[in-house]
């Protein structure tokens, strides 16, 4: 068995310990004589694991019991419409801060439901290379919520401060950097994340809603049952069969983060070190590698850079793969190179990758 250095943008690397545990328990989970995939979602064994995953999430996020932790499906892409469907009705309006591809996608869905104020850092050529400064952010206090995307997977930028939005509830798509660093839960009213970057595999989306904001959601009777947050909250995300195996891997991943890594304070140190190593390799390359993102907006999760030509980038991807480093091709919409260094990636892998970059630049300079 060989394992590679996995820089995929999502689905992405999962901690080795988590995979090994899943492997061991595949035929007999928790003494049940069944795989976790074969157990009833109404059994006490399943429900204990399901609830534990919620508790682990609350603990890591520093969230109290006033936060509802829900397990949904359909990816963050489904939250793009579910949030406005549940919150943007009647005379309400919302504000969207647009910093990349996914926040634009969120707007496309939201504008079907109500009026939006939009603050964007989009460049004239359609790219995004920075996060807005606080001074650029004027929020209408009449907004029902402000939506931001904490990390921009495709363009490789990330919020390094949390914007002051006054008393307006802050809704955050944290899909690609959740639990990569500590964050002040009380700044937010609603946080969501597709699991397939830092939380586990695809197939489950975690939605955390603070009680005061939950109370503003649309009545259940006005929506299709499966599209109302109230259905999930009132039934502990067990109204119908949840994606049990994805939640199980989520549970194991959160345990790894809490117990093996030691929580978010340790995680951010590891992540900063990986990012430092790779951005240093870019900055020390004397222009051979170019990072398009402004330095104070650089993502610690997705290190994005360009080479001189698309052909050279293609060679880079090929030789990286031969060196056991995979998933480095930039998003099809932007081209370039992207190293996604989510939580499960090791500092050692960043060092190996930086070594590869140096060698490659010597060879092709």
């Amino acid at each position: 068995m060989k394992r590679v250095i996995n820089f995929n943008a999502g689905p992405a690397a999962i901690p080795m310990e988590v995979l090994q545990r899943a492997q061991e328990e595949m035929l007999d989970w928790n003494g049940t004589g069944m795989s976790v995939m074969e157990v009833s979602h109404r059994s006490k064994e399943y429900e204990a694991m399901h609830n534990e995953a919620q508790d682990l999430f609350r603990t890591l996020a520093g969230m109290g019991p006033e936060w509802k932790i829900l397990f949904l499906t359909g990816g963050a892409s489904s939250q793009f419409f579910m949030i406005p469907m549940n919150y943007l009705f009647g005379e309400r309006k919302a504000t969207y801060l647009v910093t990349g591809h996914w926040s634009k996608a969120a707007i496309k869905e939201a504008k079907r439901f109500g009026p939006l104020d939009v603050i964007t850092t989009e460049n004239p050529d359609g790219t995004f290379t920075r996060i807005p400064k606080q001074g650029e952010i004027k929020i209408d206090p009449a907004s029902t919520y402000v939506h931001i995307t904490s990390n921009n997977t495709i363009f490789g930028s990330q919020w390094h401060y949390w914007p002051d939005v006054g008393k307006v509830p802050l809704v955050c798509d944290m899909s690609s950097d959740i639990f990569s660093r500590p964050f002040p839960a009380d700044k937010f009213s609603f946080i969501y994340a597709g699991a397939q970057k830092n939380l586990g595999p695809s197939g489950v989306t975690v939605v955390a809603i603070r009680e005061d904001f939950y109370n503003l959601a649309q009545e259940q009777a006005k929506l299709s049952t499966m599209l109302s947050y109230r259905t999930y909250a009132e039934n502990n995300s067990l109204y119908n069969t949840p994606p049990c195996f994805s939640i199980y891997i989520l549970n194991l991943t959160l345990k790894w983060l809490l117990n093996t890594i030691g929580g978010l304070d340790n995680m951010v140190k590891i992540n900063s070190e990986k990012a430092r190593i790779l951005y240093s390799a870019i900055d020390a390359s004397d222009g051979f590698y170019r990072g398009p993102v402004e330095k104070d907006s650089r993502s610690q999760m997705n290190v994005v850079f360009r080479l001189k030509t698309p052909e050279m980038e293609e060679t880079f991807v090929k030789e990286a793969k031969a060196a056991g480093i995979v998933g480095v091709k930039g998003h099809r919409s932007t081209g370039g190179i992207r190293f996604s260094i989510y939580n499960a990636n090791l500092v050692e892998s960043a060092k190996t990758a930086a070594g590869f970059m140096e060698e490659f630049s010597r060879k092709y300079r």
Copy 2:
């Protein structure tokens, strides 16, 4: 490692060979050096597996290229609203044949979208004990579709003929008996199934739409992107990240069904034999066990029966568990006992269970 006889109603038993294969490949799938959970859904390796699962589905169902095979999330419960959202608009109406709990749930969602004709076999006490006869089924030819539930998991009944609905497209929820027996695909226009009974684990729902009916679906622009069947069909169910691991287990389960079992003609023989063994145990018990469903409507997937008292049923569940037979408690809404004997259950398990029933009845008669 002990394995139990798993009669759970869903999530349910998965073939041993499938679990063993998933276990072997957990750290290195298909020579990628990654788990299938860690691989990009845009990689050629993932896409080949994803497409193969669609092809296997088509082959088993006897469906040609005129059928679109889609992978969705949110369970069959989400199809309850997606079908009318995509098909019931303007002046359209639909017909629902109601034979149990889940077809009632489907109606609850559908009636938000348009007028329905309803044909039901509900008893005055709210139970269901039979499938309607052809003579009871009058379909308005102006209906856009007719919806049926092929097998009723909770009440333990099943369609043993396919109703003649004239030229009206037939939509079928096959969640709990898909691929348990051959069926004439050309009778149907739309088939859907949550995977967690006969197809694999929870987390993925397969939707098969025949082209002529697909063409009647609502325009994509009129719906939220993730709620339009067109989004899935036009992007090969890869518009956003699909539930990769669930699709992988689905793929392995379909391969097992085709290659190890030898297809649906063999599968139905095995399933009929299991059902025969268990219903014989009921009928031979001289009233100790009572099956509420009319004999010609009995399900070959969910064998439902009652004992004299709820206390006796509780003892039955307890002693069955001690004998290594789990998941036999009836649905919370009905009580009683239910043996769910989906495809992955062996004839041997049915024999063991029948032996247990006989012994139990001797002990407590």
